[in-house]
Subunit: 303 residues, 2 copies
Amino acid sequence: MSGRHTRHDLERTADDDALRDLEKMWHDSPERDLRWHPGLDVHDLDCNSTPGYDGNKGDGEALVAAHAAELDDLQERLFAEGRSGGSRSVLLVLQGLDTAGKGGIVRHVVGLVDPQGVAHRAFGVPTEKEAAKGYLWRIRNALPTPGMIGVFDRSHYEQVLVVRVDELEPEETWRAHYDEINEFEAEVAASGTTIIKVALMVSRDEQKKRLTQRLERPDKYWKYNPADLKARRQFGAYLDAYQELLERTSTDVAPWHVVPADKKWFSRLAVSELLLAALRSLDLGWPPADFDVEEQKRLLAES
Amino acid sequence: MSGRHTRHDLERTADDDALRDLEKMWHDSPERDLRWHPGLDVHDLDCNSTPGYDGNKGDGEALVAAHAAELDDLQERLFAEGRSGGSRSVLLVLQGLDTAGKGGIVRHVVGLVDPQGVAHRAFGVPTEKEAAKGYLWRIRNALPTPGMIGVFDRSHYEQVLVVRVDELEPEETWRAHYDEINEFEAEVAASGTTIIKVALMVSRDEQKKRLTQRLERPDKYWKYNPADLKARRQFGAYLDAYQELLERTSTDVAPWHVVPADKKWFSRLAVSELLLAALRSLDLGWPPADFDVEEQKRLLAES
């Protein structure tokens, strides 16, 4: 749990000047520095790089810690709004190859906020029932309700990733999903959900290192699956699939962010900052009282 | 977030001797010290007391911090087991009057473990569809799957609390629920779920203080509901309902724990310790590899 930080840490380590210094290590802003743009090809990405960010590991961890209290506060405002008739929510979509660190993001970044305000869902191979309902059915059912931060560990995008690479559907079928997904996400965004899409990109070498570690520690065996080797043989095909996915489904209402993930501290910083930026963009206040405060004070005093 | 602690805190504050000293402040063990027993009448309970525990606030917070790493570790083992074919899970049922601190427990205690392993569910007034399905339907649907820690903020017990106090069902109907609930929980326990039931008991005076605070801070208005005053007028009726609930549904497979909640630090300590005790009782190991580790190492090295 070493990546978790508390308000206490914040008070101890970061005064306002220090925070500003930490924030300035982003060239522009995390959401602009990491946003996918035409010309960004994942085949050429240095997964060990920290695009748009000049700080080192210590700086990055300090910034996550320094922003934790604000993240927590904004999440509570969002939750309060949802409980008071608001319709807005946030959805964080995490995609990445095996060992890219989706689980660590959930533990260390999503773990920074109140569990009451988080709806986390990991999507595995669809059950028969789910498959019969169409791939968006279980996704729709898992969308965050008002006030919540939804977190998808894998998502509808598997339909143009594993489904494509393993040829689980004919090409014309999975190719149709790009437009379907864009329409679906436009609808979700229009209903009040801010969508943050993150592609965590781990290198083939780093993946080997992480898989090897799982085989060296009996407390990590459960995370290892012999099928991971198959996906390693398909690494290039997955990169092709990611590239087309980015080109076809990075839209104004639901842009993709490409996050190099060989440095765990950087991917955690990046997602934490993207989540914070999304919450800040909502300009969240506190819901006004829908009752007469003074009258209630009087009634309560008498009670 | 001041109640959250990290492994880092643990390393800093608690060596093994200090931990033992902290643990010794329980007379016996939290699960025995807090377990409801015949003769324990909630009408007479001192909600500001710390039954079975001799420590003060600092001691209690230090113990939560010192146990956080173990809680985290055991939760991961449970999760690993669930991912490896195991069937066991844990269910924490939180009940309590308004302002008793259920939300704070979730934030500060449940927030200590990985969000991936937690299935949190808050039960409000049933929707029309839910009501039509019978009160246990939505409960069954929310039971933790293997490997998960389920957390119920309110539960099927509302059927013998608010339903009884507000006379939403005839007496013979809600009275039948005690046996139904016992049968249901026996079935849930038999399927591999360890059930921890906690009744958080706040005093009428402390409740008034907490409600008053909500009216004094605009960032807390959203937590205030004028209907809370009605429940205050029914305080005695709720105590009667809690007392009968404890007497009728504290069973060997799903015992109730009565936790005085006027001291927030104590209720958080108590629930954290009860959760830890439940996880310890499962004697959780790490799942063995279901593949040939050496062969996989060789294949991975070549990949």
